[in-house]
Amino acid sequence: MTEIVSQASGQIISTAPVRRDIGIRRRYAAERRFRFYGLAAIAFGLVFLFLLLWSVVGKGYTAFWQTELTLPITFSQEVIDPDNKRETDPKVLQAANYPVLVRNALAEKLGVAANDRTALRQVSGLFSDSARVKLRDMVMSDPSIIGKTLPVTILASANIDSAFKGQFDMTVDESSRRVSDRQVAWMDQLVEEGVLASGFNTGLFVNGNSSRPEAAGLGVALVGSLYLMGIVLVLSLPIGVAASIYLEEFAPKNRLTDLIEVNINNLAAVPSIVYGLLGLAVFINFAGLPRSAPLVGGLVLTLMTLPTIIIATRAALRAVPPSIRAAALGLGASKMQTTFHHVLPLAMPGILTGTIIGLAHALGETAPLLLIGMVAFVANIPATPLDPSTALPVQIYMWANEAERAFVERTSGAIIVLLVFLIIMNLGAILLRRRFERRW
């Protein structure tokens, strides 16, 4: 054996013993495999997330645009009030045949003869029947416009809207198509004349529900969901946080509190539809609160959210280091002061995150609302939480059951709106956590 001699100092360098096999390669292989599994799981998840977003956004983005007709309409006395009785009989203005006004205006624009009944019927198919309500409201609020000609924007019919957005296959035979060749030709003509155009669909956010897809909107559902969230927040945050603080900081640890803890954990796992049944039995049948009301929905969702908030809050309180409590108690702070001055502020990020996640869960909850009657056709925006209303997820459920082609894009559009709200809430949770996060 030759000895290696260091050149610098002339000292002998020790020789290495025979290498032992301590399984280095095996360990690294295991680590590589584990990393691969992790990456594969994440990729798998991302693919499905992407597919979900792709299908929803791809179908739904067109719901945010609406085809509209802007044209001068003559509020002719012969159509609205042929017998000139509106001074004495207010029902005349209510019952007048307003769509004829639009039909006549369009027929004139398109050069359709006033006696060509087949063509006139097809002209009527161009615009939405919601024009009736719009024109009636205009006339009823200001009867002096009768006899005048005013430019009015009305919605195109659902079929024209779909055709304009290119959702119909024009190669199909005319008889089995929802729009005729003639209507398509008129559409092109109207576009050229600047009558037919696409605009941002504000109606989607302000209108109530409607059986005509082009006039159906999320207004009622948005206001209903807002009421629900408000009620859930106002009730479940204070009750949940107070209950958690009591259980975590004050209550003695005995069988009773153990039992309560087990039950809270179980309640968090109870299917939401059961809460709906409970709400139906207690709030509607027993307490006599109105059906379909956001107040009842809010109460039911509060019951459903409370266990989530209590569990999150207790975890957040438990995560506060005991040394902080000891420090405050050692200074002579009372238990209450210790909790509210030191423990609660430190637990705040966790509590808020838990609350917002609970709220987001409640926002997306459908099943319990079905049972308390919030699945209803509601056209008028609820003024108070006691008025009938729907909620965003229920509206999605209802639209998904509609047969018309035009409800497909509205359903997806509503899903996008709901997802945007959920993303905003989750972002809020992250921002609040960052804002309140403290190190110790």
């Binding site: 003695p252 000891a326 420090a327 405050a328 002579g332 190190r439």
Partner: protein, 271 residues
């Protein structure tokens, strides 16, 4: 509280220790954690304006005894204390004694520095504020400054009182905790291994501080370090397996202890 000048204190210490009044007296103190007994009939006196060190191997009950003095054991579930502990002759476990008031009179510094995650100022001001010890902002400012000065931290932090207390070094944090305890003007300060998480330089500073604090406060300190007990204390009590083995003047304890077990422990034969 008996206020004495430093010179007077020194003079007192020259005399026989027995002449010093007893601030706290533990009589037949036993502590149970559930079914487990942690202390066996401990009789131990804490003398006024004296540093009393509690030493002994891990798990011998010295921290447990310390925590009975301001009833910090109350916060532990299943903990039961028997016997009697008095502060100025009053039983601290008597139902008429309020634990909040007791802890305002008997402060505590913990093993690991545990400043609140708030500013340095807020850390010190918290105690006086909850006890209503300062009438005005100016008065509170003064209490904070005095407390930080007593804890020897004022010069290091006076320009950054609004910065976080957790941003200080370990030694500074522990002195901040001492300032926080001092700010309430307690009569007794309990220290539970206050230097165990500190480096030697920070330890030296805290020990120096303990020496100075003795002028105004009665101090009980639990320590693992025999040298520390010898350096900072006048009286030492040795615990072993939940029993008080010996309580004596520190000088005597480290040169000529009465009990063989003390001798063995100090010589490093067990522990």
């Amino acid at each position: 509280m008996n206020i004495m000048t430093e010179a007077a204190t020194e003079e007192l210490l020259e005399k026989k220790m027995n002449a010093v009044p007893l601030k706290m007296v533990g009589k037949d103190v036993s502590v149970f954690y559930g079914d487990k007994r942690a202390l066996y009939d401990v009789n131990l006196n804490v003398r006024e304006n004296t540093v009393t060190a509690l030493i002994g191997p891990s798990g011998c009950g010295k921290s447990t005894f310390l925590r009975t003095l301001n009833r910090m054991n109350d916060t532990i579930d299943g903990c039961r204390v028997t016997g009697m502990i008095t502060l100025d002759g009053e039983d601290v476990y008597d139902p008429s004694i309020d634990v909040v008031e007791l802890r305002a009179r008997v402060g505590m510094v913990f093993q690991k520095p545990n400043p609140f995650p708030k500013s340095i100022y807020e850390n010190v001001a918290y105690g006086p504020r909850i006890h209503g010890l300062a009438k005005s902002k100016a008065e509170l400012d003064q209490v904070v400054e005095q407390s930080l000065q007593k804890a020897g931290l004022w010069n290091e932090v006076k320009d950054r009182l609004q910065e976080g207390g957790t941003g200080l070094s370990g030694g500074q944090q522990q002195r901040l905790c001492i300032a926080r305890a001092v700010a309430v003007s307690p009569e007794v300060i309990l220290m539970d291994e206050p230097c165990s998480a500190l480096d030697p330089i920070a330890t030296a500073k805290v020990e120096e501080l303990i020496h100075e604090l003795r002028t105004n406060f009665t101090i009980v300190i639990v320590t693992h370090s025999m040298q520390q007990a010898a350096r900072v204390s006048q009286r030492t009590a040795m615990f072993h397996l939940g029993n008080l083995v010996e309580e004596n003047d520190t000088d005597k304890m480290f040169t000529n202890p009465d009990d063989q077990r003390t001798q063995d422990y100090i010589m490093g034969r067990f522990g």
